[in-house]
């Protein structure tokens, strides 16, 4: 019944073939992936305690894709993460405390309670938050890259879409614009095999979304989205391609949405066998196994990291819980640039 079984098996780059990823980078990948997982789980707990305002759209099991892609960018590059991209925000060093404060609608969130969940920006870190309307950030990213060129700087931009978002018009528009303008734009497709309840065979007929790159005359690549090393390596290739002036890349990361669309969705429409199959490919366990085998980590390290991560998350949650709710009248302020802060990317 699962459409996904009709597609070819996902690529699984052999565990050793990652080029020259440094030990420091491997450890960064591991740190942010584990941090993202820790936060996802904590957020679900907070949600159950009614401390999260509004909905929660877990990026659980997407950590290798979100962290692996975002870590490959440089500081001058611009990241535009989507609703499941907590890991990308973290890899970009968005402070944890801001993220929790945002989920709780607190005044210390960067939006001062004006927007929720991971609709988070950070001008200092060159992060632009998304709007809910899927596809809207694609052409914005293209414009940022183009502005970089006019200002004499190569600015790689990276934004995300789910499999569902590839059906929207701006997917075509923006890839085509980016191709024609030959800007360093990377569109990451987090193919988690469902758009809410809709499986991929009701969304598209090509074998791989990455194959659509050919229609735009640009590079397209599909990787195992649960393999952080492979994702990082593929993204770095895309970034380098962009910096060399070879234009945009459509990067499809194959993964699986292991929870409901949101926490309130029991996702009975997802076949159990599919979940079982993907459970064995869990991205956190995967990178951990790899780093242990490579002796980049020891079992004792793993324990230390666990304690450290929990401490960091505890501190951030405490900060957010202590942060006050915004003043009601603040709702009327801030529409216009004249009211400040009127910030820009850099």
């Amino acid at each position: 019944m699962a459409s996904t079984t009709e597609k070819p098996p996902i690529l699984d780059i052999p565990d050793e073939d990652y080029g020259d990823i440094s030990t420091a980078t491997m450890l960064d990948l591991y740190y942010y992936i584990r941090l993202a997982r820790e936060m996802e789980l904590r957020l679900i707990n907070l949600f159950k305690q009614n401390k999260v305002v509004g909905g929660l759209y877990p990026g659980y099991a997407h950590e290798a894709t979100t962290v692996g892609t975002a870590l490959a960018l440089g500081d001058d590059d611009v990241l535009l993460p989507l609703h499941r991209d907590l890991g990308a925000q973290l890899a970009r060093r968005q402070p944890l405390k801001y993220i929790f404060a945002q989920y709780m609608g607190k005044v210390d969130s960067p939006t001062r309670g004006k927007d929720g969940n991971v609709h988070l920006a950070n001008p200092e870190l060159n992060i632009v938050g998304c709007i809910s309307h899927i596809g809207a950030m694609f052409p914005v990213a293209v414009g940022i890259s183009y502005a970089g060129r006019l200002l004499g700087k190569t600015v790689v931009t990276m934004t995300y879409t789910g499999d569902g978002g590839t059906s929207i018009g701006e997917f075509h528009e923006a890839l085509n614009f980016a191709a024609v303008l030959n800007v360093p734009f990377i569109l990451v497709v987090e193919n988690n095999q469902f758009a809410y309840s809709t499986p991929t065979n009701q969304q598209y007929k090509v074998k791989r979304i990455a194959d659509r790159a050919a229609a735009y005359g640009i590079a397209g690549e599909q990787v195992d989205g649960n393999n952080a090393m492979a994702v990082y390596a593929a993204t770095r290739r895309a970034v380098e391609r962009g910096r060399r002036g070879e234009g945009p890349t459509l990067l499809e990361c194959m993964t699986m949405r292991m929870m409901g669309h949101s926490v309130h969705d029991p996702a009975g429409y997802v076949p159990r066998e599919l979940l079982e199959e993907w459970k064995a490919k869990d991205p956190v366990a995967r990178i951990e196994r790899y780093l242990l085998r490579k002796r980049v980590l020891t079992p004792a390290d793993v324990k230390d990291w666990t304690a450290r991560l929990q401490r960091e998350v505890d501190e951030a949650v405490e900060f957010a819980e202590n942060s006050p709710l915004p003043q009601a009248e603040d709702a009327a302020r801030g529409v216009w640039a004249e009211e400040g802060p009127a910030k820009s990317l850099h």
Partner: protein
């Protein structure tokens, strides 16, 4: 005869801003080599190069989306809609993206979207509309609508220098019919200031864009009948200079609000509500609107004429109000 047409005034203003500030960049369909469907950017590509006078593929949503990105990353883009009607394709980018970025994230979004709008040129349902009402209702978007060549130049400069997204509603019917003597050198019209174009004591005619000229013409007709009309030109719709409107109504005690956009739920309805909230004790007659019909813009000349407001229709309404 005054020397500068409304359309040339826009070109001049745009060109001077591009010379003054290298971060000002134009983008749109056919604006480069061809110089734009109406030739507003004629010759720009020779002076500023193809990178700053960017011919884009045909997709308004991405033209506006790109402009947002350019504005976020330090440029001041001026996007052209080939016709204002096509801005509907970019509705989401403007309403949900551009208009919310400062409120949510504190980003400034200094961009202008030029919209050749309006009827009277027999363009039919899809080349004649005045779409400002859709955006007037939305937060975070400034809207300007010049009625003279002087304002066309001054307001395009004011719009480009503004740090918010601005919709520049340039009226196609006025392009080559309205002219002014424009002073040499740099001047910008600040956004948010209405102007009394003609002082009068009996009735206030409030308009913008094409209906300012119609109102002035109506005032002439009315003067011959002994009715002294005051004409207020809004110039900027968001933020609106309601002070000037209310002051005029308090003086004349009667008001006709005019626009070429459709009547139902239009900008006139908003102004009328503001007047009744703030100056109802001063009114000696009902507030009356003269606006387009609530239909698509019809194509054939007699139909379009019936659809649109005119000096005669404004005069008729003003007479009714004056004699109420």
């Amino acid at each position: 005869m005054p020397t500068t047409t409304y359309i040339d005034a826009i070109s001049e203003g745009l060109r001077e801003e591009m010379r003054r500030d290298s971060t000002v960049v134009c983008l749109g369909e056919d604006i480069g080599v061809y110089g734009g469907a109406f030739k507003v950017t004629d010759g720009f590509i020779e002076e500023f190069g193809a990178a700053r006078v960017l011919d884009t593929p045909l997709a308004e949503s991405s033209i506006v989306g790109m402009a947002i990105g350019m504005a976020l990353r330090g440029l001041r883009p001026v996007a052209e809609m080939q016709f204002a009607d096509f801005i509907s394709m970019a509705f989401n980018q403007l309403v949900n993206n551009a208009g919310t970025l400062h409120y949510r994230f504190g980003f400034k979004v200094p961009m202008v979207v030029r919209c050749p709008s309006g009827g009277g040129i027999h363009g039919g349902p899809f080349h004649s509309t005045n779409p400002e009402g859709f955006f007037f209702h939305s937060p975070g978007l400034k809207i300007v609508a010049p009625s003279t060549a002087y304002d066309a130049k001054g307001l395009i400069k004011g719009a480009i220098r503004d740090d918010n997204p601005v919709l520049f509603m340039e009226h196609k019917f006025l392009y080559r019919r309205v002219r002014d003597d424009i002073p040499e050198g740099d001047f910008a019209v600040p956004l948010g200031q209405a102007l009394v174009r003609r002082p009068g004591k009996d009735v206030t005619l409030v308009g913008y864009g094409s209906t300012t000229g119609m109102s002035l013409e109506a005032a002439k007709i009315l003067a011959e009948e002994g009715i002294d009309a005051e004409v207020v030109d809004l110039r900027t719709l968001v933020p609106m200079d309601l002070e000037t409107v209310i002051a005029s109504v308090k003086k004349t005690n009667r008001v006709v609000i005019t626009h070429e956009d459709r009547r139902r739920g239009g900008i006139g309805a908003e102004i009328s509500a503001e007047i009744s909230e703030n100056a109802v004790d001063y009114l000696d007659a009902p507030v009356v609107r003269v606006a387009a019909l609530d239909t698509p813009v019809p194509f054939s000349p007699p139909l379009e004429e019936y659809f649109l407001p005119s000096a005669a229709k404004i005069a008729t309404a003003a007479r009714r109000v004056a004699r109420y």
